[in-house]
């Protein structure tokens, strides 16, 4: 076949293909390329048994200590040896800053503490159930969006948007009030949270961006357990239990967030590294992904503040 004929024939095929991919039947989700594994996912941290298979090494404190004693590496404990078992000393000043914002009165003398009690005593345990449906806002919200809306509507502060320093340090402060509580996001009962979870699951496995990767491309086996250059990715089960996380020294360009990575910010960071278009923090799809991640930590205790990188060099001796 000569070149131009082949071009025309194949062009026609391409046109048909392009049309086919746009004509999704009404009511059905658009067709995308998905990384395999969606059907195996369950909204509980033990779902990792069907993925990395390391869950029994990090399911509780005793297991982590036993795994360390056996000489297992951090990635075989899903990095819980330092991201969960150990608190971040460096993050304490961040919590102090968050507490200052929390108790800081506005011109009318009102602060977060006016409703939530001094130092937020009425917020204990709340973060373990986030994200959740906010009836007043009429949508599922993540911690940072709740903070933004509260600050604007009740304190008249317009500037505490999701990707600002006051918001991020407050988010970490409020999250730390749930330290030790088990994550419990109900995505089983019918309702907006369940719908968000299902959408988030699809988004987590949807292939996107210039590299045609999904979040799951890196955070499920065989990538989990292997090296990406010098790094090993985590399995996504249980990860959300220690977010927001202290992420010193890494930042995104333009950050002034005291090295706090909310889960929303973490997703944006991953998107940037994988050459995907970065989502907007607090947008519907970004919230959906967070619902999926947080529900994948259901049953695992929150641990705040912890730190992304292992600052201990003990493992070098092993």
């Amino acid at each position: 076949m000569n070149k131009s004929k082949a071009g025309l024939a194949l062009g026609a095929v391409a046109a048909v293909g392009a049309i086919a991919s746009w004509q999704a039947p009404a009511g059905e989700a658009a067709k995308h390329d998905y990384w395999p594994g969606r059907e195996k996912v369950i909204p509980h941290v033990s779902g990792d048994r069907r993925f990395s298979g390391t869950y029994d090494n990090w399911k509780d404190e005793a297991s982590i200590r036993a795994a360390k004693a056996k000489g297992l590496m951090s990635h075989e404990m899903n990095f819980k040896d330092f991201r969960w078992l150990e608190k971040s000393f460096d993050a304490w000043p961040v919590l102090e800053e968050g507490k200052e914002y929390f108790n800081q009165p506005n011109a009318a003398g009102k602060s977060c503490a006016s409703c939530h009690g001094p130092d937020g005593e009425k917020l204990k345990g709340v973060y373990a159930n986030l994200p959740r449906f906010n009836a007043r806002l009429g949508k599922v919200v993540v911690g940072p969006t709740q903070i933004r809306a509260c600050a604007k509507d009740y304190l008249g502060i317009d500037g505490w948007k999701e990707n600002t320093r006051p918001n991020s340090v407050l988010d970490m402060y409020v999250a730390h009030l749930s330290d030790g509580r088990k994550v419990d996001v109900d995505v089983i009962s019918p309702g907006p949270l369940k719908e968000a979870y299902e959408r988030g699951k699809n988004l987590y496995f949807k292939r996107t961006g210039q590299f045609h990767f999904a979040c799951a491309s890196c955070h499920t086996p065989p990538t989990v357990g292997n090296y990406l250059r010098g790094q090993r990715p985590s399995t996504f089960f249980g990860d959300a239990a220690h977010y927001p996380i202290y992420h010193f020294p890494y930042t995104l360009p333009g950050d002034d967030l005291a090295h706090v990575f909310t889960l929303q910010h973490q997703i944006r960071s991953c998107q940037m590294l994988s050459r995907m278009s970065q989502g907007t923090e607090g947008s519907r799809s970004m919230v959906d992904i967070e619902v999926f991640l947080k529900a994948s930590a259901n049953g695992y205790p929150m641990s705040i503040p912890t730190q992304e990188y292992n600052m201990s060099t003990d493992y070098l001796k092993r």
Binding site: L10, G11, A30, D33, H212, R229, S277
Partner: protein, 178 residues
């Protein structure tokens, strides 16, 4: 769904125009064009080795379902034919393969003379394994021809690398250790 599309910008451009106008989708953002068209747009503003310019990433499917890029269909599989000889610039190919902000092959593969990640198979002994040149070319251009769930970026179809750059990487791989 191995859609056979010839790697011919003209043919695919025409097909795309037909498809887009039939569906009334000819508006910027919704129809983003073929990989090599995207590549031309990107390379006018972005130089390999620099941070990717965020505006170009909305040309590809994304997570934001309320945005046009969230509705983009996945790129059609592209089947390509390698026309010899293998005469790329191996030194440039090595640079492409190792640079995080270019080809970044080393993220997943060990390469001839260079360590790397372990997600993909080691390519350190690539010449000794004597894989056919056509196979290698297709694998880099769009590996979904062999495996729809292939992990590897579809370098040609998405316009991550130019045809010349892919040939350079191949020259580096087949040259082996220096």
């Amino acid at each position: 769904m191995n859609l056979t599309a010839l790697r011919q910008p003209g043919a695919r451009c025409l097909a795309a125009l037909v498809a887009a106008s039939v569906l009334g989708l000819f508006s910027p953002g919704v129809f983003a064009g073929s990989g090599q068209e995207k590549l031309q747009k990107i390379r006018a503003k972005w130089k390999p080795g620099e941070a990717m310019v965020p505006e170009f990433l909305t040309l590809y499917p994304c997570h934001e379902e309320d945005q046009p890029c969230g509705k983009l269909p996945p790129p059609a599989v592209e089947k390509v034919a390698f026309k010899g000889p293998l005469a790329g610039d191996a030194a440039r190919g090595e640079k492409i393969a190792l640079d995080v902000r270019w080809g970044n092959c080393a993220a997943c593969h060990a390469l001839p003379g260079a360590p790397g990640g372990s997600v993909g198979p080691s390519l350190a002994d690539y010449p000794q394994r004597r894989p056919p040149v056509q196979y290698t070319y297709q694998r880099i251009w769009d590996g979904r021809v062999f495996n729809p769930d292939a992990h590897m970026p579809i370098y040609g179809t998405q316009g991550v690398l130019t045809e010349e750059e892919i040939r350079d990487v191949m020259a580096f791989l087949y040259q082996g250790k220096k």
